[in-house]
């Protein structure tokens, strides 16, 4: 794959920047939805290279960041049970719950395993029939097909000691919620390329039309991100609001049809609370009735959960693009990647961690004079 290097090419970056500078005539706010893109933008300093008219607002597309506190607290309760082996992607272990995190449960003797894939969790269940194996199934549309497959395989293979704690979130309803917010300042979206590789982008034209907002499907390499920005700026300057695919080597309109078919079979859509943001209608997946027996929430009665968020954390405003991480008073003080107060500092794809890890300590305000920060 020799061409991959070219998508990181420095001269190409300068060329695309020159083209963006040539086009831009006034300020525009663009939101990159995906945490992976935020990470790439900060790591490569793309936001600092752009003409000052273009502001990048970091979106809610980090699954670790938006998994609601109540789901973390349920995970903590289930993982503490004596006969349970609790499996999770590694980056969930340090996400703070109301009073501890999964690492703490592990140090207190909980059997918690970091897995790379839900299939690894299924294998642990098959090899340990005397234990209840629970997988923490979080993530956007990119991760959901893997979790759907694990549940379907468990059913087909008659594996009874496997279950999943499901907290899946969907991108298109989040775009609609951001655009409907009274404090919204997003004028164009860079849509998450890998989410679209699964779902295609057939869900986006109605959104672009309804909110009159350009949506550009964008990859992760520096040239991909800049090509996405260029396409969005071109549309904004022309007064257009279309869906455009700037990541055609990976994404097509229909997406991955076998994956979508199994997703539809295993999950149904429900309202979902996003951490820091609140309820977004029809924005989550839960197990469909045919697979309910694999639902960890019904298998283990976790009782009433009372959640307590850190009063210092402003991650909700960060996730909605209302403030930049550096505008949070706790940023780099009480809150660092070693002592995170909020999920956006825990996950390496979270905006707070990206800013901290790449030494962005100076506030770069995205607010305007008329609009104070923390308006919500």
């Amino acid at each position: 794959m020799k061409y991959l290097e070219e998508f990181r090419d420095a001269k190409g970056v300068q060329g695309l920047l020159a083209e963006i500078r040539r086009l831009v005539t006034r300020p525009w706010n663009l939101m990159e939805v995906c945490g992976g893109q935020t990470h790439s933008i900060i790591r490569n300093g793309i936001d600092q290279l752009l003409p000052q008219e273009i502001r990048l607002i970091h979106g809610p597309g980090c699954p670790v960041c938006v998994t609601p506190l109540v789901a973390i607290d349920k995970a903590l309760a289930i993982a503490s049970l004596p006969n349970v082996t609790f499996c999770s992607f590694g980056d969930m272990l340090r996400v703070p719950g109301s009073d501890k995190d999964l690492f703490r449960v592990k140090s207190e003797g909980g059997d918690i395993r970091i897995v790379y894939s839900p299939l690894d969790a299924l294998k642990i269940a098959q090899e340990n029939p005397e234990r209840q194996v629970v997988f923490f199934a979080i993530g956007f549309e990119t991760t959901a097909p893997a979790n759907a497959m694990a549940v379907d395989l468990a059913k087909k293979r008659g594996i009874k000691n496997f279950s999943v704690l499901v907290s899946h979130v969907l991108v298109p309803p989040a775009i609609a919620a951001i655009m409907s917010s009274p404090v919204n300042r997003v004028q164009a979206f860079l849509a998450a390329g890998h989410v679209c590789s699964v779902m295609g982008f057939w869900e986006y034209p109605p959104l672009a039309e309804r909110f009159h907002v350009p949506i550009v499907i964008t990859g992760f390499e520096p040239l991909d991100v800049l090509a996405g920005i260029l396409a969005a700026v071109r549309q904004l300057e022309n007064g257009e609001a279309r869906v455009e695919n700037a990541y055609s080597r990976v994404v097509n309109f229909e997406g991955n049809l076998p994956a979508q078919a199994l997703l539809k079979q295993v999950f149904t859509i429900e309202d979902r609370a996003w951490r820091g943001i609140g309820n977004i209608p029809q924005s989550g997946w839960k197990l469909s009735p045919a697979y309910r027996e694999y639902d960890a929430e019904t298998r283990f009665s976790v009782g009433e959960i009372h959640t307590v968020e850190s009063p210092l954390c402003h991650s909700g405003e960060v996730l909605q693009g209302v403030i930049q991480p550096t505008e949070c008073p706790a940023f780099g003080r009480q809150c660092t990647p070693r002592t995170p107060l909020g999920a956006t500092m825990v996950s390496s794809e979270g905006a707070c961690a990206a800013y901290y890890n790449y030494g962005r300590f100076a506030p770069v305000s995205i607010t305007t004079a008329e609009e104070p920060a923390c308006a919500t």
């Binding site: 290279l49 893997a146 991955n256 076998p258």
Partner: protein
């Protein structure tokens, strides 16, 4: 955890009725589930996320994108390394 990684399919096999493959990520090889890409063949490139191949990479459109960039002059010396001026000169 949302970043999926591109790799090349080196081997395809069945495991418990599941279509699996060995995918090479620039030297590191991993077992990957290929059930969602029934058409993928040995030698093809794919994006892999949490152990699942979710999308085939289309080399042709990658090269096409690069060609468009090239036509815009992005890779040429004269457009080159020097950033276009942002400030107005005095």
């Amino acid at each position: 955890m949302c970043l999926a990684i591109p790799g090349q399919v080196k081997e395809i096999f069945e495991q418990n009725g599941l279509r699996m493959g060995r995918v090479d990520f620039g030297g590191i090889t991993k077992e990957v589930c290929l059930a969602y890409l029934p058409e993928i063949a040995i030698g093809d490139y794919t994006i892999v996320h949490v152990g699942f191949a979710i999308s085939k990479i289309d080399e042709e459109s990658a090269l096409e994108t690069l060609n468009t960039f090239r036509e815009m002059g992005l890779f040429e010396e004269e457009f080159g390394v020097e950033p276009a001026p942002v400030e107005t000169r005095h």
